[in-house]
């Protein structure tokens, strides 16, 4: 299976993602934001970081970059697009995903492990995943998911909510919501569920000794579903 990771000026999780994808068997290519096209891929990843220094709004400048037209075409033709953290912010700014990631409710940059609950398995990302509560890492200043009531209703009605913040037992309460996100939302799909944006970083949880392996479950499972 082939994947491509798009690098923007200011991306900083691109190499971690490259390592993770290769570890689980993807043949990965790194693609620069100024390139015209993306090599034939089964998966495109928009990695975490601070594209264009988070100028204007997080992800807003990247959402108008040269390469993004190819990403949008790929996504609209049903290709799998995964946006992690800043990648999620870029996906909302392109309009491929609804809503926006606002500044964290308590104004602090959050860098810690969290638990998230898998809310929908009827998709290539989470179908057959072995655990429903995953321990993943977050590191962001703008992760407070917000959308209009109408958009929220659509997300709920179409089962587009992918993962929510919860405690280790799976309880999605205020206490386990790190950033004030609407309904504890940590990640969402588009309607066709080929596009996934989420704040937590699975690529940071792929080593038994350094972190934990719930990110490995995510990548192994994704590869198995392709």
């Amino acid at each position: 299976m082939k994947s491509s990771v798009i690098i923007f000026p200011g991306s900083n999780c691109d190499r971690d993602m490259d390592v993770a994808l290769k570890k689980f068997g993807f043949k990965n290519t790194m693609v620069w934001h100024n390139d015209q096209s993306i090599p034939k891929s089964d998966l495109i990843v928009l990695p975490g970081g601070f594209s264009y220094g988070d100028y204007l709004r997080c992800g807003s400048i990247a959402s108008k970059s040269k390469i993004i037209h190819s990403v949008i075409d790929f996504a609209n033709s049903g290709g799998l697009v995964l946006g992690i953290c800043n990648g999620f912010q870029i996906l909302t700014e392109t309009g491929l995903l609804p809503g926006i990631l606002q500044q964290n409710k308590y104004l602090n940059f959050i860098c810690k492990n969290v638990f998230v609950k898998v809310k929908d398995k009827n998709n290539k990302y989470f179908k057959n995943i072995k655990k429903e509560i995953l321990e993943l890492h977050i590191a962001h200043n703008e992760g407070n998911f917000f959308c209009t009531e109408k958009e929220l209703k659509n997300l709920e009605d179409n089962n587009q909510i992918a993962v929510t913040y919860c405690n280790s037992n799976g309880l999605e309460d205020d206490k386990s919501n790190p950033n004030g996100a609407t309904k504890n939302i940590a990640g969402i799909f588009n309607k066709n569920k080929n596009i996934l944006g989420m704040m937590p970083h699975p690529e940071r949880m792929i080593d038994k000794y350094l972190s934990g392996e719930d990110g490995s479950l995510f990548f192994e499972n994704l590869l198995g579903n392709l």
Binding site: L56, S60, E93, I100, N104, Y106, N144, F146, G180
Partner: protein
């Protein structure tokens, strides 16, 4: 021609920075400050002589890039 734009958060959208500024002002003894909303100001120089035309273009810029209409409103002044 210079066109000025103000982008603000829509009413009802949480503005934690504005809240922090308000609390700081209260702490500085500006006790009658009840609310602060923070926004962005843009000054755009457009090579255009017709003001109406320039403003129409800036409106497009606001919709496409300068404001995110999910949470923000813009005002061309």
């Amino acid at each position: 021609m210079k066109i000025k734009v103000i982008v603000t958060l829509k009413n009802g959208v949480l503005d934690p920075q504005g809240k922090a500024i308000q609390q700081t002002l209260n702490g500085m003894n500006f006790l009658n400050v009840e609310d602060v909303r923070q926004g962005k100001f843009f000054e755009i120089s457009v090579n255009e002589n017709d003001e109406k035309n320039a403003k129409l273009q800036v409106e497009e810029m606001c919709k496409k890039l300068l404001a995110n209409l999910v949470i923000e409103d813009y005002k061309i002044i």
